[in-house]
Amino acid sequence: MSGILRFLEMGGHGGFVWGAYAAVALVLLVLGLISWLDLKRSEGELKRMEARLPGRSRPVGARNRA
């Protein structure tokens, strides 16, 4: 038990070390989550849009397959 406590304390600088790791985790997770949600939202909208225009595989003026 004391071993774990010593590990968490990080030689007295626990606040800073864990604060730093927490900050990193927070930024990475929030950015990842926002990006993922944005992707789901726009892909969902795109599917709905494509369903509304049957018989058209891509909008007029889009780039053709090279």
Binding site: G11, H13, V17, A20, V27, E43, L53
Partner: protein
């Protein structure tokens, strides 16, 4: 290279690769954290706070690297009219800004126990601060125009101006730092390079890199879908 120039094909490839990217990122983070927190010794001088270095230094590396990616994407869009150049620049910029933010936050937390202040005006940290503002300007410019393509082009020019300036800024800040060196040397010193330090550093850098590539693919897919949506809406509006 031209195989990837087709946005639709690129989106498909990215979608297929994303799960692998997530897995690799997770793996590297687990390994990196294990090395950083458990398997490496505390530093002789800095004690346990040296562990902050394992999240700080790779973040600063990625902040710089991603800006180069943004500049490269911008150059390929401006000079060679590569269709994905703007997309990559737009998708990568916020990720780079976040790495910069992480570098600043962890840098502050690293400096406080060592120097007693929440901010140290050392050359590297100050350069990262300026880089942060370069990212913010790039992102702001991207969104400042009603027409996305105008914003993309303006931001691309800015990114190229920024990448040209970046070495000049680094040089100036280094010069400024040595000029105003206070009596007690305030520098976030890296401890002497030791294999036990190198391993966690490199693995964490790898984890950050895998995260960047994976998230970039996700964001590029979003950009491509949004572009398609805009085209659809324009076509609908044109129809009447």
């Amino acid at each position: 290279m031209h195989r990837f120039a087709n946005p639709a094909r690129f989106a498909q490839l990215a979608a297929a690769a994303t799960p692998w990217g997530v897995a690799l990122t997770a793996l590297l983070f687990v390994a990196g954290l294990a090395l950083a927190l458990f398997a490496s010794p505390p530093d002789y001088q800095q004690g346990e706070t040296v562990r902050i270095m394992y999240v700080h230094v790779p973040a600063a590396w990625m902040a710089m690297f991603v800006y180069v990616v943004v500049a490269a994407g911008s150059a390929s869009a401006l000079v060679w009219r590569h269709p994905l150049g703007d997309v990559i620049a737009r998708a990568a910029s916020p990720i780079g800004a976040c790495f910069t933010l992480m570098a600043l936050l962890t840098g502050s937390l690293w400096g406080k126990p060592i120097w007693g202040t929440w901010w140290v005006w050392d050359a590297r940290l100050t350069s990262v601060l300026v880089l942060f503002f370069l990212y913010l300007g790039h992102i702001a410019l991207l969104h400042a125009f009603d027409e996305p393509s105008r914003g993309a082009r303006a931001a691309a020019i800015l990114a190229l101006a920024g990448i040209v300036n970046l070495p000049i800024i680094k040089f100036s800040v280094d010069w400024w730092n040595t000029l105003h060196q206070p009596a007690s040397i305030s520098r976030l010193e890296r401890p002497a390079i030791d294999p036990s330090i190198l391993a966690p550093l490199l693995v964490m850098a790898g984890a950050y890199f895998a995260y960047f590539v994976t998230l970039l693919m996700v964001r590029v897919r979003t950009e491509l879908a949004s572009a398609k949506l805009r085209a659809f809406r324009a076509a609908l509006a044109a129809q009447g």
